[in-house]
Amino acid sequence: MPAPRIELLWWDGCPSHPRALADLREVLGELGLDPDAVSVREVATEADADAEEFVGSPTIRVNGRDIAPPRDEPTGLTCRIYRRRDGRVSPTPDPADLRDAIRAALHEEAA
């Protein structure tokens, strides 16, 4: 079974990506996947943000699908707002959401 394609896009005006990457790698390890199999890419300009459909840092995609699909957020260089499962605002996604997104991708590939 192929491993899902994991991407983390970040912008250096927001300090949250190291934490997001650490959480992501921990979840990958928990699921028996390679923690280093993450494509990490910097988004440095507004033009890059438009081209990447980047709505904020960090953005994490599994097989091209955003783990928290944006609604009507515009693309741009900004920090992204996530909600933890207990309702708190956070600069990084809830690890449980990361886990669920990767598990769903694994199930889709197994089906």
Partner: protein
């Protein structure tokens, strides 16, 4: 030029979300100036804790001022209209929300992030600068570093620590920086 620890901080007159001009410094026994904004998850995570500080210290005469320095043209969620609507939708704040549209105050204070906290004594001398507390994800921290700094200033003492590293989103400068 940015304000240094132990030196007098500059005063500014800025509009609040109702369009009324307000001074940062009004002779309070202690003043906390918090550079913040509407769209940064760090600022939002700390927001309730900061408003609690404003409520808790108001009886002791402390002035807490929230200042939004971001370029609202590039970040419309930090516009005057969005800021006014935010305060209204939250039922009003216990601290004025001032709009630093020319970014003069943020530049003069050397603010780097949202949030970035500056505590001044009754003479307007900078006594603390940094984060509200050690963990944006831990409401139980209750903006402890800010509270400790205010307590020290009210007691006529120098806060310890006097400086911590501000944590948050970079201020969105009009120059694009």
């Amino acid at each position: 030029m940015t304000v240094a620890m132990g030196e007098a901080a500059p005063d500014f007159t800025l509009p609040d979300t109702d369009g009324d001009e307000q001074q940062l410094l009004v002779g309070a026994p202690a003043t906390a100036i918090v550079f913040t904004c509407n769209h940064c998850p760090y600022a939002l995570a700390w927001h309730d804790r900061l408003l609690d500080v404003a409520r808790d210290y108001a009886p002791r005469g402390v002035r807490v001022v929230m200042v939004n320095p971001n370029d609202a043209e590039r970040y419309p969620r930090d516009s005057a209209d969005a800021s006014r609507e935010r305060v209204r939708s939250e039922g009003g704040w216990p601290a004025p929300y001032l709009l630093d549209e020319r970014q003069e105050a943020a530049l003069a204070y050397g603010a780097k992030t949202t949030p970035d906290v500056f505590v001044l004594d009754s003479a307007g001398i900078l006594r603390y600068r940094g984060a509200p507390d050690s963990d944006y994800e831990a409401p139980r921290e209750r903006a402890l570093w800010l509270r400790d700094a205010l307590d020290a200033v009210l007691a006529g003492e120098q806060p310890v620590p006097a400086e911590t590293e501000p944590v948050g989103c970079s201020i969105k400068w009009k120059s694009g920086g």
